[in-house]
């Protein structure tokens, strides 16, 4: 009897591994959606890569994937950019890991970081780790950003109930939707890899209350320094550079202090931060589509052109400027 129990235990473990990997590779909607995005970005990369002309590789969540338009950056400013972002739910570490795959010698990794980001710890999300592994396999171990953390390895072995239950509900209620949008009706992936969302909300309210945001800027997390250090090292081994930009949100100017504090913290770590004088806020409802992070088609074009200009001019914050903003009367 005991032998039989042990055999069942091993078979269950192996079967779970098989089902989990099959699901993550071939069935999980988020995974399929962002795999499509990344393969479009790959196609775009083959089009624009020229010998000796470095590219800017954008890493981050959906705030990048739905806002940064490499085509308009190339057309208007001659900036060769690749949108290698996925979704914030994957976690910052996984998003960096995904983007590292696009980096080549001389390139610059442009990392998007929310001032209130909460997913920078060593432990990544189940979906993030599995998506990374689906894209890169065991290559991930070399950088040490996501793996070989034991907790993250467990994500590769075991499933996550919320994936399955959400998938079941989606099949029952919105069978045509991939990810959170139906690709045909609500969104499309542009030639250069930006996701253009057609849904428009007339009024977008900030996703978190200002008080909550103020309490949790990334500077409060000790993990940020080690993450930046690991990312710098991974860029260095590829002969690439690292810069950070803090994305703009559709939210009130109360967030500017948080932005400045975060930018200052990163600058002190020796990371150049793109100098956006709007300090991460854009109180323009028309520039956004369905969330305070996802830009509309027009908003994204304007913003991408603006970022391209900053990249072209190598326009970064200085510590003095940021200190001045922090100490200025409110």
């Amino acid at each position: 009897m005991l032998k039989k129990v042990l055999i069942y235990l091993i078979v269950s473990l192996l079967l779970s591994l098989f089902i989990n990997r099959t699901y993550e590779h071939h069935l999980r909607p988020d995974s399929l959606f962002f795999s499509d995005c990344l393969s479009t970005s790959r196609q775009w990369e083959t089009k624009i890569r020229r010998q000796g002309e470095p590219c800017y590789v954008f890493a981050g969540g959906s705030e990048v994937r739905m806002s940064i338009e490499p085509l308009s950056m190339l057309k208007e400013h001659g900036i060769r950019a690749i949108n290698a972002a996925t979704q914030a739910g994957n976690g910052t570490r996984c998003n960096i890991q995904i983007a590292l795959d696009f980096l080549q010698k001389g390139d610059t990794l442009v990392l998007s970081m929310f001032p209130d980001v909460t997913s920078i710890g060593e432990n990544s999300s189940h979906g993030g780790v599995n998506f990374c592994y689906t894209q890169q396999g065991s290559k991930m171990f070399a950088d040490g950003i996501v793996l070989p953390n034991a907790y993250n390895i467990s994500h590769l072995l075991f499933g996550d109930s919320s994936c399955y239950s959400t998938h079941i509900l989606r099949i029952l209620t919105r069978p045509r939707c991939i990810y959170r949008y139906s690709c045909k009706e609500n969104a499309r992936i542009s030639e250069s890899g930006r996701v253009e969302v057609f849904i428009r909300k007339t009024h977008i309210s900030p996703s978190k209350s200002p008080q909550e945001i103020k309490k949790t800027p990334i500077t409060h997390f000790s993990g940020i320094a080690s993450l930046i250090e690991q990312t710098k090292r991974a860029c260095h081994t590829r002969g690439a550079n690292l810069i950070v930009y803090l994305p703009r949100h559709c939210r009130s100017s109360i967030f500017r202090q948080t932005y400045a504090q975060t930018a200052l913290y990163l600058t002190k770590l020796g990371i150049p931060v793109l100098r956006d004088p709007h300090l991460g806020t854009w109180e323009n409802n028309d520039a956004y589509s369905d969330t305070p992070q996802h830009m509309s088609i027009q908003g994204g074009q304007v913003y991408s052109a603006y970022i391209a200009q900053l990249l072209k001019n190598k326009d970064y914050w200085t510590q003095e400027e940021l200190l001045h903003i922090i100490h200025a009367p409110q």
Binding site: M1, I19, F158, G159, S162, T166, R170
Partner: protein, 466 residues
């Protein structure tokens, strides 16, 4: 002593291996028994210490005091013994009262604005071992039974599978087993134990934890579907969470060759509330029945209805310090009284209707258990009693706005119902609610589901808070 953590198994499994090894090496049976008992006690106390040093200290205070209290009382005459017993029970209840009820009594009952006791952390398992110790004292002194050796007594009190969340064992059932403890490798017992452990972990990790994430804690809106969703999720959650703990504890004890009480016998398959409480948290219900209900005269007095309500009121207070627990206990008692009056009238309901009424009643009553904020409880009560809160649009918006919670609720309530149906079939076929799930194939399936569907957000066992 959380069975779902690696720490527990990493301490328990090697320790058990050492105990078995010592047991095999030592040839003389008297010394072997002594070694085994000492090692088991050391393991139990170590596991208790992993919770906190304070937990261990309070446990030792309660148990050692009860032991020497019993020795002193046994030497005295009957009347004096009774006085000492009452005095002893009061002293044994002091730590429990201090940690669990001080804040409630001072702030809510007396109304003093003191914050001194607000942040007291209740030592894990205090309600369980205090009650087990009290039962030991009563049984020993009332029936004038022998005082066991100190090591046997300590093993009885601290037996690690059941110390933090029950079952609350009696001296007649557990003490003889720990006294005659002979750890021998028995593959049949071990296999049976593993079946129960897997079933318990499946209940907790797949159903209990996932139903916890399906709940919107602190909901204070006007959507009746959300309130009922929370009630149903919690109703199933508390069963699978607590029964999961009990089954795992039963499995571990079984693997050691010790039989402890199964705390749940599929209460959600019952067709009336009386049966439900007979099969829910059995060791606590029988404790209250034997030491409170029978002590008040049981059903043989004119005031039997008062005895029932009082017993459930005490049960509510045992669960927690708050008005919500008092209302919960009272309501549970009142429903019992209503059922008894109905049964005495000679009428019976068809099983399916009885089951439906029992489930609805219990799901309604749980609302007073999980929500400790009385203003939210009141608001939710008004919501579910208001017909306008049952708009179809509210249901659709609930599923759209909280897709993850909504999908979890539907998927895991469905899975819960499937398990309850299997328990029902098992009762009909084997006379035991879990027999159908205690075989290698079923355990293989449950293991697969544990690996695939365990929640990323693990929650502590609910009854650790009690």
């Amino acid at each position: 002593m959380d069975f779902t953590t690696c720490t527990f198994w990493l301490i328990m499994l090697p320790s058990m291996a050492v105990i078995y090894l010592v047991n095999r090496l030592e040839e003389r049976s008297i010394r072997r028994a002594r070694y085994t008992k000492s090692c088991l006690l050391l393991l139990s106390l170590t596991l208790l210490y992993t919770a906190s040093a304070e937990t261990l200290f309070i446990f030792l205070f309660v148990t050692i005091l009860a032991y020497f209290g019993c020795i002193c009382a046994r030497k005295t005459e009957n009347i004096k013994r009774k006085t000492i017993l009452i005095f002893l029970i009061i002293i044994l209840l002091i730590p429990l009262t201090y940690y669990k009820y001080a804040n409630f009594i001072i702030r809510d009952v007396i109304g003093l604005p003191w914050d001194t006791f607000r942040d007291l952390v209740i030592p894990i398992g205090i309600s369980f071992y205090t009650f087990q110790t009290i039962a030991f004292c009563i049984d020993t002194l009332k029936r004038n039974q022998e005082i066991p050796t100190f090591i046997d007594y300590m093993n009885f009190c601290s037996f690690f599978p059941q110390i933090v969340a029950g079952p609350i064992e009696r001296r007649d059932s557990l003490l003889p087993q720990v006294t005659n403890l002979h750890l021998k490798w028995d593959s049949s017992n071990t296999a049976q134990g593993i079946f129960y452990i897997i079933l318990g972990l499946f209940f907790k990790m797949v159903l209990g934890d996932n139903l916890a994430t399906a709940m919107h804690i602190g909901y204070d809106g006007h959507n009746a579907f959300q309130v009922w969703g929370n009630n149903i999720a919690f109703g199933f959650r508390i069963y699978f969470d607590f029964a999961g703990y009990g089954l795992t504890a039963y499995g571990i004890a079984k693997a050691l060759g010790i039989n402890i009480t199964l705390n749940f016998m599929s209460p959600y398959t019952c067709c009336n509330v009386t049966d439900f409480w007979r099969k829910w948290h059995i060791s606590l219900t029988t404790w209250f029945r034997d030491y409170i209900y029978f002590a008040l005269g049981g059903s043989r007095t004119r005031f039997w209805f008062f005895n029932i309500v009082f017993m459930f009121l005490i049960s509510g207070i045992w669960h927690g310090a708050g008005w919500n627990f008092i209302i919960w206990g009272t309501l549970a008692g009142v429903t019992m009284v209503i059922h008894r009056i109905y049964r005495q009238s000679g009428r019976t309901l068809p099983s399916l209707i009885g089951w439906g009424i029992t489930i609805c009643t219990m799901m309604f009553i749980w609302m007073f258990f999980y929500e400790t904020n009385m203003s939210i409880v009141y608001s939710n009560l008004l919501t579910i009693l208001s017909p306008s809160a049952y708009d179809a649009g509210d249901f659709i918006s609930l599923m759209q706005n909280n897709a993850t919670q909504g999908s979890h609720l539907i998927v895991f309530c469905f899975l819960s119902l499937v398990i309850i149906l299997l328990e029902y079939i098992s009762i009909k076929k084997y006379g035991h609610p879990y027999q159908i799930l205690l075989n290698p194939a079923a355990c293989g399936c449950m293991l697969l589901l544990i690996f695939m569907l365990h929640s990323q957000k693990q929650s502590q066992f609910i009854y650790f808070a009690f």
